[in-house]
Amino acid sequence: MKRQAENSTTPGNNHTGLAPHAKERDDMVRGTQEFAPTSSGGPDQIARLRIAYARAGGPHGTMSAASVDVARLPVLDKLGARLQFERTGTRLYDALISKLDAYGMFDGGPSRQQLLEIRDQELGHALLAQELIGALGGDPTMVTPCASLQATTSRGIIDVLVDPRTSLMDGLDAILVAELVDQDSWAALARSAEALGDAGMTAKITQAQQTELQHLKKVRGWLEAADRIRARAATEVH
């Protein structure tokens, strides 16, 4: 098995800082005194450009023009996001299980069975979102604007999880971000569903949110254990 805490506790060969290149750093700073900026102004130029483009442009996407009651569109937008996020979440846990298989377990960390359980619950939530979209007359194959935004927001999470060079601990750090968003997003969906007055649907969504809350607690616990391991490993190095 590979070492869990190697990335953050082993003295290595990191070249990014300027401290080992102090002479070069000083040369570079001296250069800025001789060669001044060639355009005037400050960072507000970028802000002005953003504002101009934002005012002139259209939205990044819209809902479809299918014959669905307009009042249901905000819920369908959010349900579409949960469907996509939970499907991706299932794949994230698949990747996390591969991390566990490559790096092994650590004291206080997740077992394979625990990760599999969460993985199956994420899939269950995706299927629930799919079912609720159908019940509201929506199209579960449509990528909604909210789904697209959340996919863009969480793009880096999967990059960390599928990179062979990151450990199980690194993967848990990444999945925390997903669980934080997921938990809050189910809560927001519950509020939107309540406004529609469908008690059955609201109850199912609230149940999913409670399960997500449990995921978040478990991940936080595993990360606390990971920090203890890292601290111990660093002490051993010294």
Partner: protein
């Protein structure tokens, strides 16, 4: 030790094989690898990319060459994969861009200082100052949109300073064409230099054209559009240095020689043992290509390949910091422009009307590279590390500006 392209033993083409696992090996570490290892990887991707581009163009024009081109081109496509897949996934497109500009600066500076032809050396220095400015603009973009310091990638080898302002680099296409070397008289090194820098600029253009639309920020989209346009100018410039009277086979032979020359240069300077082994293997493969194409050349053209590859190469591209050289060029030549194939002093001579009109039209509404770096000076850790950011101005209801003035 030099490089004897026709006599140093390489790997015969029949023995040049790959499998997927070695094509997709372990990438370098963005944090731990030496910046110049990244520079070499990026340049060699560009060199192989040019081999592929040339090979396809030649196959479309010269049916007699199609079969040997197909065989060697496939090997080179796999070489390119092996090399380019050494870049890690956590290196973002903007970070890779910083690497591309470091290639353009350090490799062009090395070539410019070793170039035996004074006109060609002047052209390399001319292009160098423009890529030098691109580094500054992209570093400003990185700092001002992502809060990151580009020096983490450059590792002290390369300055982040304004060069010839990108805003004035835009020239009419006819003012980007230069005079070619004479294929019968030019030094072999000049030919290899021109091919190397042309290949680097062409891949940079293609890379910016691919990743530019992947950015969300309008400033980034504008800056990539603007600098990709200048890279197109640079490809025009450097390819026009190459004698168009060279035959297709002569050009192919020089392309293979250029690849071997570049892998040899990488090998001369590489400190990472694993990467060294890759450069060594690729050099052996390229020597096999050079010698196979030399035989084709001799069969088809009934002349000796030594007429083209006429000497041992003893001047590798030097993978070191060229800070002092670049600053000297910056002090002396930042004000140069072009009138046709001649370089002129913009402070003394008028640039052609066609260039002035072309530039004024492009810069009329928004000047992206001025906006991104307005008043920006590099400092360790980025501009937020050393100053009070204060409160942001409230632009609500303010009409946006058209862009900063040069």
């Amino acid at each position: 030790m030099g490089l004897d392209l026709l006599r140093d033993r390489g790997t015969s083409i029949e023995r040049q094989r790959f499998h997927w696992k070695e094509l997709v090996g372990e990438p370098i570490s963005k944090l731990d690898a030496d910046a110049l290892t990244r520079v070499r990887i990026i340049l060699m991707n560009g060199i192989e990319s040019e081999a592929n581009r040339f090979g396809h163009a030649a196959a479309r024009l010269f049916p007699a060459l199609q079969r040997p081109l197909a065989v060697i081109r496939r090997i080179e496509q796999h070489q390119q994969t092996l090399v380019n897949w050494l870049l890690p996934a956590d290196q973002t497109p903007l970070e890779t861009t910083i690497g591309y500009e470091q290639v353009a600066i350090e490799v062009t500076a090395s070539v410019a200082s070793a170039e035996p032809d004074p006109y060609m050396a002047a052209i390399f220095r001319f292009g160098l100052l423009e890529d030098f400015d691109h580094m500054y603009r992209f570093a400003a973009l990185m700092d001002r949109t992502e809060g990151k310091d580009a020096s983490a990638l450059l590792q002290g080898y390369t300055d982040i300073l304004p060069g010839r302002p990108t805003a004035v680099e835009h020239r009419h296409p006819l003012d980007d064409l230069r005079s070619p070397y004479d294929r019968r008289r030019a030094d072999l090194l000049s030919k290899l230099h021109a091919l190397t820098i042309m290949a680097g600029e062409n891949q940079t253009h293609d890379y910016y054209m691919t990743i530019g639309p992947m950015f969300a920020d309008p400033t980034a989209r504008l800056l990539y559009a603007e600098i990709a346009s200048v890279e197109e100018q640079h490809v025009t410039q450097y390819e026009s240095l190459i004698d168009p009277r060279e035959s297709a086979l002569e050009k192919w032979l020089l392309h293979e020689a250029c690849e071997a020359y570049n892998y040899w240069s990488c090998l001369e300077f590489e400190g990472d043992r694993r990467i060294r082994a890759i450069w060594e293997r690729m050099l052996d493969y390229e020597l096999g290509h050079v010698q196979a194409v030399a035989r084709l050349f001799e069969d088809h053209e009934r002349r000796d390949a030594e007429q083209v590859l006429d000497r041992v190469i003893r001047e590798p591209i030097r993978y070191v910091s060229h800070r002092d050289f670049v600053r000297d060029v910056l002090r002396a030549e930042v004000n140069l422009g072009a009138d046709g194939s001649d370089l002129i002093d913009r402070t003394r001579d008028h640039e052609p009307e066609r260039t002035r009109r072309y530039r004024a039209e492009l810069n009329a509404e928004i000047q992206p590279s001025n906006i991104v770096a307005a008043g920006w000076t590099w400092q360790p850790g980025g501009e937020l590390a050393a100053r009070d950011t204060g409160t942001r101005p409230d632009f609500n209801g303010v009409k946006p500006d058209q862009g900063a003035k040069s």
